[in-house]
């Protein structure tokens, strides 16, 4: 704890993040940096130190931005404070990436020596360059037999105009090149600017809720200083509070007495509601406040919407509380109450993408012990009403206006960048054009790899486009996308009827030309997903009153413990209890029990 009082002058601070594609070794490199700077002793190392959420370790991805303070004694003999601000690596989370980058002056660009640069890495480097960050290019995994550092250097030069002399060759796994990276951070990345004696301005880039300390905000001080017992004010909300604790991330929270301009640290605000300390707000000193807040962030934009419902109606209040608490930790999803005829009371939620949706669902289930049903995901449509009655935004197919009310429907489009080895160009062109995509252009990164650009409706992208891209390129292609505005489209609402009753949570909006085909594929999938019931259950797809597809889930004829278990009644009862649990995981809609997966059937249809 002797480091606590040791103040490092602003000139010896460095704030940086790491930009890397998934599996290109970001977490391993971060682990090595922590080790080499003795932030964590080798015996305490677990791998993926910064990915502390179970889900992150399981999926091998970073979901939440995190920060850690390293203290490094450089070759010049001086000790530097290096703040590593970790960034998520999946396409859904570019919003988190931009927030992290804004808190830095530099970034390590980590590229796998065998894989080369990927679509999303490119997008993030462009983000970093836009923010004026210094880029330190690192080619990682040079120990691999398949490593081709020469080719990757050529790519970096061609695509990002990075001179090869700047590139550091490394193997985070073996520790090669890691000391050079630390030196480069000190030498190349400029120290933060900002007058320590000016009025305090601290940008909140993340937060979490701690049941003892209340809302803990992660701040980057743009100017001024922050001391123990200061009374702080959140400039947007106007809330004031005497701070409970301030400190740095090592990576656990370690209290310090003071933070100065340029520093990254945390502040335990003592506030009870995260709404009072929103990400993007500016922290200042209540006694000597800054004249104006920092520019802050664009709020996260939801692209994918779905209803989240408790499996059992009585859990609705628990779901509401869970969403509120989770939102403190992940402000990038939205939620508001809605109700469904089929599913009862729930919430309409907006997500950054499909993976984000999956993660929110899993966190609600794991961290709050809830059992949930999600309705079919949708994008947000602009519906122009007839007779000049304006435009409404509709993100729930069930709430689509009647056909005679609609003048025009506009749907969101995206511009998709795909990086792929050349041999998969044909397969990926086909995938994208099948999804109503249009091809824009192609650029060679090196003789073996290209950058393809498409435009396509977002609705086509969210339905397993990413999974298809991966499977059709044997895992080699990568993608990124950005919004490209709204365009008119010929769309219709496809209703699904189960046992003759429309199930609103299964409705979806589809292109008119493919409505019948989609209807057929969807009911075929539903027939597989809906278990046999006591009576036969017709499953139909309809456009208006016109049925375009029909399948029948045949009646169940046998579910019996016919076997002789002797006097072993216990085993019989346990088998029945298991069946009961299975039934409780299903949603009763009318007289039919429908499992969770059926509501997401549109994501697993055959092409």
């Amino acid at each position: 704890m002797s480091r606590e009082d040791q103040m490092i002058p602003q000139a010896r601070l460095r704030n940086f993040s790491i930009i890397a594609h998934i599996d290109h070794g970001k977490s391993t490199l971060a682990d090595r940096l922590l080790e080499l700077t003795h932030t964590i002793e080798a015996r305490q190392m677990t791998s993926q130190v910064l990915d502390s959420m179970d889900l992150e370790r399981e999926k091998g991805i970073t979901i939440k931005a995190r920060a850690v303070r390293l203290e490094y004694t450089a070759r010049d003999g001086l000790t530097y404070g290096l703040n590593l601000i970790d960034t998520p690596g999946h396409v859904d989370f570019s919003y988190e990436v931009s927030r992290s980058l804004q808190a830095c002056e530099g970034a390590l660009l980590v590229v796998d020596a065998a894989q080369g640069i990927e679509a999303q890495t490119l997008a993030n480097v462009h983000l970093a360059l836009r923010e004026g960050l210094t880029i330190i290019p690192v080619i990682n995994k040079i120990d691999l037999p398949s490593a081709q550092p020469e080719v990757v250097m050529e790519e970096l030069e061609n695509v990002l105009a990075i001179p090869r002399e700047e590139v550091i060759l490394a193997s985070a796994k073996e520790g090669t090149g890691v000391p050079e990276i630390l030196e480069a951070i000190v030498e190349r990345i400029p120290p933060p600017k900002g007058d320590p004696d000016a009025p305090l301005q601290g940008l909140i880039f993340d937060s979490h809720y701690d049941s003892y300390k209340g809302v803990v905000v992660y701040v980057r001080l743009a100017q001024g200083r922050l001391r123990q017992h200061d009374t702080i004010r959140l400039m947007a909300s106007g809330v004031e509070s005497e701070l409970l604790e301030l400190g740095v991330f090592r990576p656990q929270l370690v209290p310090v007495k003071e933070l100065v301009a340029g520093e990254v640290g945390y502040v335990a605000t003592g506030l009870k509601s995260v709404r009072d300390a929103q990400v993007g707000d500016t922290l200042t000193n209540a006694k000597a406040p800054a004249a104006a807040p920092l520019p802050g962030y664009q709020p996260a934009k939801s692209l994918v919407f779905a209803g989240i419902y408790p499996l059992s109606g009585e859990d609705y209040p628990l779901l509401r509380d869970a969403l509120e608490k989770l939102h403190l930790n992940d402000a990038s999803f939205t939620y508001e109450p809605e109700s469904s005829i089929a599913l009862g009371f729930g919430f309409r939620c907006g997500f950054l993408g499909l993976l984000h949706m999956e993660i929110v669902q899993e966190r609600l289930e794991r961290e709050f012990g809830l059992e949930l049903i999600l309705s079919a995901p949708s994008v947000s449509y602009h519906v122009v009403l007839t007779h000049g009655r304006g435009v409404v935004e509709v993100d729930n197919p069930a709430l689509f206006p009647a056909v005679n009310e609609i003048e025009e429907i506009r749907e969101p489009w995206v511009r998709v960048s795909v990086v792929t080895p050349t041999q998969y160009i044909g397969a990926l062109m086909e995938l994208s054009t099948n999804r109503r995509g249009t091809f824009l252009d192609m650029e060679y990164l090196d003789p073996q790899r290209v950058l393809l650009r498409f435009e396509m409706p977002l609705a086509e992208l969210i339905v397993d486009y990413y999974d298809q891209l991966k499977s059709r390129s044997q895992g080699y292609a990568s993608m990124d996308y950005e919004e490209a505005g709204y365009r008119p489209a010929s769309l219709v609402k496809l209703d699904i009827l189960v046992a003759g009753e429309p199930v609103d949570a299964l409705s979806l909006i589809v292109h008119r030309d493919r409505a019948a085909a989609t209807g057929r594929a969807l009911v075929a999938r539903l027939k597989e997903l809906i278990p046999r019931q006591l009576f036969e259950v017709p499953v139909q797809a309809a456009i208006g009153s016109n049925v375009v597809a029909r399948e029948t889930v045949r009646a169940m004829r046998k579910n019996v413990l016919a076997k002789c278990y002797g006097g072993d009644i216990t085993r019989k009862r346990k088998l029945l209890e298991k069946q009961k649990e299975g039934k409780q995981r299903m949603k009763r809609v009318g007289s039919v029990e429908i499992p969770q997966e059926a509501f997401l059937a549109m994501l697993s249809m055959d092409e």
Binding site: M556, V560, G566, I569, K580
Partner: protein, 429 residues
């Protein structure tokens, strides 16, 4: 000394009272087989443990006698010694395994011990499970003399191809011989176990087996759907579990067999058998069991009526009216406890138990009662939480019907409901 305590009439409906009661039946598990069948989950060992110089049968019998003594001591301590003041056993059941591998003298000796220590009611049912094979079915005359009143043959099928597929050692002609010999010896009730929903078994195949079985004029038929469980996945096969781990060959056999089963076909097979047997005057008194009137198995009825039963042998299950108890399946642990090396005091074998709470007891009573053609009292079903909505749902789904039996308005399964009974039962647990 043979007790002559009068029989308590079955189905008195007082079984959900949570008071321990002395057993009305005794189950003895004999875990030896000539060979193991790949579909079977019962506790059984074969190979050198079951025959030849290193056979464990003699040691097992010693241990079984010790266990019978310990269980009897415990019953004496709770309920007083057997005699006019205590319920005598109405049924003894030798299950397995293949208990017909034991010589008739051994069966006679065990029955004498059982009578002495537990009290055997006059006219008690004594069942022995037997394989039909020439070298494993035992001598019915000697068995009858030993006290066996009922022989239950594991026929499974009367078609040669199916018997081979199931890994059975006997031929279909052995079944006819075994039944004829039992009848000639004057065995009071002869049962055949048959399996439907065999992999690839056509409707015609099933009719063939059923008709061949009926032609042998058995007194009782147990028709079981072949059920390929995974006791490992159910967590039943640990050291204290009541099942043995599934051998890899059996696991592979089950995986190959499952896709060749078919619920719809099985339903047809079941309903066909049920209608033929009803037409011929058989009493379908439980989901899987039919008897010519008067030949219902009193032992199995005791399970379904939740009457208390004692049990000995590896993997055996007992019930005293409040607690369900079982022995672990593994023979080594069983022998080590009951026949300790170095002559120490024997201990009860490892196992487990569960205490039933009133809700579990009520659910069990309904589920077990509904398995029989007597069904359950309507009030008992309605007394359950959500009982009336479950009853309404089951009526609407044609799973149950309401019948008047004597004074009682009773609910029982329809023929369709029998095959869909888990749909109802899983709502009752």
């Amino acid at each position: 000394m043979r007790s002559i305590a009068g029989r308590v009439s079955p189905g008195t409906g007082s079984s959900s009272s949570l008071r321990p009661r002395p057993p009305v039946a005794l189950y003895l598990h004999v875990p030896f087989c000539r060979s193991l069948c790949p579909y079977c989950d019962f506790v059984a060992v074969a190979g050198s443990a079951a025959r030849g110089p290193s056979s464990r049968i003699a040691a097992f019998l010693d241990a079984l006698v010790v266990e019978l003594g310990l269980r009897a001591d415990a019953l004496d301590a709770r309920f007083g010694p057997p005699g006019p003041g205590r319920q005598a056993l109405e049924s003894v059941y030798f299950g397995g395994g293949t208990p017909s591998l034991l010589p008739a003298e051994t069966i006679a000796g065990l029955l004498a011990l059982v009578d002495e220590r537990f009290g055997l009611a006059f006219g008690a049912e004594v069942t022995l499970e037997a394989n039909p094979g020439r070298d494993e079915r035992g001598d019915p005359r000697a068995l009858r003399k030993a006290g066996v009143t009922r022989l239950s043959f594991g026929a499974q099928s009367l078609r040669p191809a199916e018997l081979r597929l199931l890994g059975r050692r006997h031929r279909s002609a052995d079944v006819a011989d075994a039944v004829a010999a039992a009848q000639a010896a004057g065995i009071g009730s002869v049962n055949l176990d048959l399996l439907y929903d065999l992999p690839g078994q056509s409707f015609a195949d099933w009719i063939e087996t059923l008709e061949a079985a009926l032609a042998l004029r058995p007194d009782h038929l147990s028709l079981y759907a072949l059920t390929l469980d995974d006791p490992d996945a159910e967590g039943l096969t640990g050291p204290a579990g009541d099942h043995l781990p599934v051998a890899s060959g059996a696991r592979a056999w089950r995986e190959r067999a499952r896709p060749r089963q078919d619920d719809d076909r099985a339903a047809g097979q079941y309903h066909y058998a049920a209608s033929v047997l009803a037409r011929d005057g058989w009493h379908g008194y439980e989901i899987s069991n039919w008897a010519r009137p008067g030949h219902e198995s009193r032992h199995n009825l005791a399970y379904w009526e939740r009457r208390p039963y004692e049990a000995v042998g590896p993997g055996a299950h007992a019930f005293d009216g409040t607690v369900r108890r079982w022995n672990a399946a593994r023979l080594d642990g069983y022998l080590a406890a009951l026949l300790p090396a170095g002559g120490g005091a024997p201990a009860l074998p490892p196992g487990g138990q569960e205490q039933l709470d009133p809700a579990m007891a009520a659910a069990e009573e309904l589920i077990l009662g509904l398995r029989t053609d007597r069904g359950v009292r309507r009030e008992a079903l309605l007394a359950l939480p959500a009982g009336s909505s479950i009853f309404g749902w089951a009526l609407a789904g044609e799973l149950v019907e309401l019948v008047q039996l004597g004074e009682d308005a009773r609910v029982r399964l329809t023929s369709r409901g029998r095959l869909l009974s888990n749909e109802l039962f899983s709502r009752l647990v």
